[in-house]
Symmetry: C2
Subunit: 171 residues, 2 copies
Amino acid sequence: MATTSMYTASIPVFQHMLKNLSHVLAKGAAHAEARKVDPSALTTFRLFPDMLPLARQVLIACDAAKNGVARVSGVEAPKFEDQETTFEELKGRIQKTLDYLASVPASALDGTEDKEITFPVGPASRTMKAQAYLFTWVMPNFYFHTVTTYDILRHNGVELGKRDYLAGSQQ
Amino acid sequence: MATTSMYTASIPVFQHMLKNLSHVLAKGAAHAEARKVDPSALTTFRLFPDMLPLARQVLIACDAAKNGVARVSGVEAPKFEDQETTFEELKGRIQKTLDYLASVPASALDGTEDKEITFPVGPASRTMKAQAYLFTWVMPNFYFHTVTTYDILRHNGVELGKRDYLAGSQQ
């Protein structure tokens, strides 16, 4: 019988949604190629001048998953240089994030609910128990940047549907 | 010691994020009033012509939570008529959704991981076990419409930051 735990509530979810995100980015790249537009018109696009561009949305989604899991599990994560700008590079960053997530055993996450996690919030830091940290900080943050990536592409006319976001990697 | 379960992974998360969403909508309403613009310019705004307008995004976020919980828990949920269009009415819909969520006991959700859930997907239906349904369908769907609501307001210049989305109801 399946059970629900800090592991089942995090790693498989990130894996599923990051694979879908990679599929969404592939559709963005294909759109640019088909329309003969510079792909950077999409990857640098912001929904508002003081919002982050698409490429940064993807990097932050990846790091929300990677750093969230690293802090809770204690399994050290590689540090990346944030130099990805093209669709191909962003998909590579997702793959590197997936590689890290696959290296974290369930035993490192399960039973961590009450562990105190201190994490940076802007120039300050905040401390929460791991369960609240995962469910009310890491997950909402991860989804924020994943959905905003989708919304940027959709706003620019890329032919995407919610199914691409929910299950695109299974198509 | 805290444990993680189908209940802790769903109801408290929906409650937290819906309260933040209500706060985000209040900022949208305040923005319209301060700038003396018709609030419906915001509530009817779409990020692309074939995307849903803000008001529908809010209704679907509410129903993702309500119907997801109802299907898994078996606790009957009220049906709403989807007539809300103003910021005040949308905040009311969130409150009605919160009232339903508060009525669902942990015992109705915990241990449901393997329960088969059949749910509508467009004109068809799909069946998944409750754990996969919650984590790879209901939650991503809920976040999709919550974040898109935020993105629509942000795209229209409403002064919001990620903190409003993550923790706005606690301010």
